[in-house]
């Protein structure tokens, strides 16, 4: 069953009044969309991530521990996958300033791995020291869409020049990700995303609060955000890179929902992208050593005297970084449907169709959701509830006229 799209004009001898297909330009018509088989029993995996959030933004400074230069590269909130290459570029520039032949990278999440590859491309021999390889890091518990300013900083705490730093990172990442498009398995790809709403959305106005959303937790300490608008937003700086949102007219709206917008977004297929990055790292002579670190003093045991520190949320305990705030996020995964080549948002539920499953996430309360929650255990009911929202949505489509 296709969801709307182009209805074929009939050639019956007794012609019924033929309805115009659409007044919409051909290039803007919504193509046939395959339905998501949204049933809670098709949820085959759940992931809980902890976004490593720092109110002042990611930690990118350097410090010297004993005879070791440490370049920090962690704390990218919900923007790690998106900003990784740009952030790696900045870190490696600092690391290469002392012309090391060998560089150690701590951590093998997406920030560590892109830092390691970038350091190799700068001419260094790189060893990654990590307690887990990429598939078991917190990085792959993200949802994997290009969201470069998601929970990246608080407006009140970010340094005045962070906007420029962010833009530089975002643009460098965008350029680098471009080189991963179109490769076998689509490690990085674009897909359309439909924003569905029962009520009209006024441009420039914040979305109306979801009446079904749980109330926000009480503010726990001075300086903590209390509302979504406390989070810094920088996407306007790269408006020239990303497509804008298009409003679908009634004659171009295949959904049983009144107000629909469409945009296109970049996303990561973790398995293909991760495999490719690891292959590139090993292909360039990279080495991995499995180990854990507990105190900064342990860096003195390393052969390398230049270290790029990419521990993500683990910096809270390994580097005693008390500015690190956990922001919990949970995704449910429906069995993959390659024919579903789009994502949607409806009633605070968002989907993204990827090679390893259809990601479903509940986003009521926006960026505030999960703030200062470090509980990594799965709340299955949350994902099931999100799938039921989709189940109800798809049940409203007309039955397949076979």
């Amino acid at each position: 069953m296709g969801l709307g799209g182009c209805a074929a004009a009939g050639s019956a001898p007794a012609p019924a009044p033929v309805k115009m297909i659409s007044s919409v330009s051909i290039e803007d018509r919504v193509p046939p969309l395959a339905p998501i088989r949204a049933h809670p029993d098709r949820l085959f995996d759940f992931k809980v991530c902890i976004r490593p959030f720092r109110r002042q933004g990611p930690r990118l400074d350097t410090e010297v521990i004993g005879d070791t230069l440490v370049v920090h590269n962690y704390g990218h909130g919900g923007s790690g996958w998106s900003l990784s290459w740009g952030s790696a570029d900045m870190a490696v520039q600092k690391a290469m300033s002392v012309s090391p032949k060998e560089i150690a990278v701590i951590g093998c999440g997406i920030i560590g791995l892109t830092s390691a590859i970038t350091a190799q491309r700068a001419g260094a021999h790189v060893t990654i020291y990590t307690r887990d390889m990429l598939p078991r890091t917190r990085s792959v518990r993200a949802n994997g869409s290009w969201t470069p300013d998601s929970r990246i900083a608080l407006t009140s705490a970010a340094p005045a020049n962070f906007g420029e730093t962010w833009e530089q990172m975002a643009r460098m990442s965008w350029k680098t990700l471009r080189t991963y498009l179109g490769l076998p398995g689509d490690p990085v790809a674009f897909s359309d995303h439909y924003g569905l709403s029962d009520t009209p959305r006024v441009a420039g106005q914040p979305r109306a609060p979801d009446p079904n959303a749980a109330p926000l937790p009480p503010r726990t300490w001075e300086g903590a955000p209390t509302q979504n608008s406390d989070f810094a937003r920088y996407n306007d700086r790269i408006r020239d890179l990303v497509p804008q949102t298009q409003v679908l007219t009634d004659d171009n709206n295949p959904f049983p929902v009144k107000y629909v917008t469409r945009t296109s977004g970049l996303f990561f297929n973790f398995n293909e992208y991760g495999y490719l990055l690891m292959s590139q790292f090993f292909g360039a002579g990279g080495k991995v050593e499995m180990r854990d670190f507990h105190t900064p003093a342990e860096l003195s045991t390393l052969r390398e005297k230049v270290v790029i520190n990419c521990p993500g949320y683990a910096a809270r305990d390994w580097w005693k970084d008390r500015d690190m705030v956990p922001v919990r996020g949970q995704t449910g995964w429906l069995i993959p449907q390659p024919e579903v080549n789009y994502g949607l948002s409806y009633r605070s539920v968002q989907t993204l169709s990827k090679s390893d499953g259809i990601m479903v996430i509940a986003l009521e309360n926006g960026d505030m959701k999960g703030y200062n929650d470090s509980n990594e255990s799965v709340r299955r009911a949350e994902s099931e509830q999100a799938v039921r929202v989709l189940e109800e949505l798809y049940s409203r489509f007309p039955t397949n006229p076979i």
């Binding site: 078991r136 854990d292 105190t295 342990e298 305990d317 470090s374 509980n375 990594e376 255990s377």
Partner: protein
Amino acid sequence: MQGHILPAIMAVMMLGLGSAQAQASHSIWDGVYTEAQAQHGEALYRQNCAYCHGQTLAGTFETAPLMGRFMPYWSGTTLDVLMDYVNMAMPLGRMGAVSRADDADIIAYILKVNGLPAGSGALAADAAALQAITFDAARPKPAPPPEKPPRQRR
């Protein structure tokens, strides 16, 4: 009355023994916890840790195991580092909710599961005592016996 005093005296003696042991630098292989402590630790583990790390300490895809690679990953440190981590970072979601005394018992249980021998002194919770205990992945080799003087030839 005597029935109350005797265990108290024994406890004081045991504590004294424990802290005396802790002062000298030694290894987790030297019997740094008691069997009773590990048993109490097991109950606390089931209550506070097993939800993520599993009943058998084997961990999950997302949660670190507390056996196997646990040994090399903590090797080279001292027990105060492990205590700090357990006390500050665990249990996930309610960090610091378990007291250091209870954490010491949980650590005793983890040591036991990893095949480290129990001893006669309980593992203390204070940092100085724990700092004197080295975390070695394998039993340190005993110091070689002093060389015998060469036998005199007749």
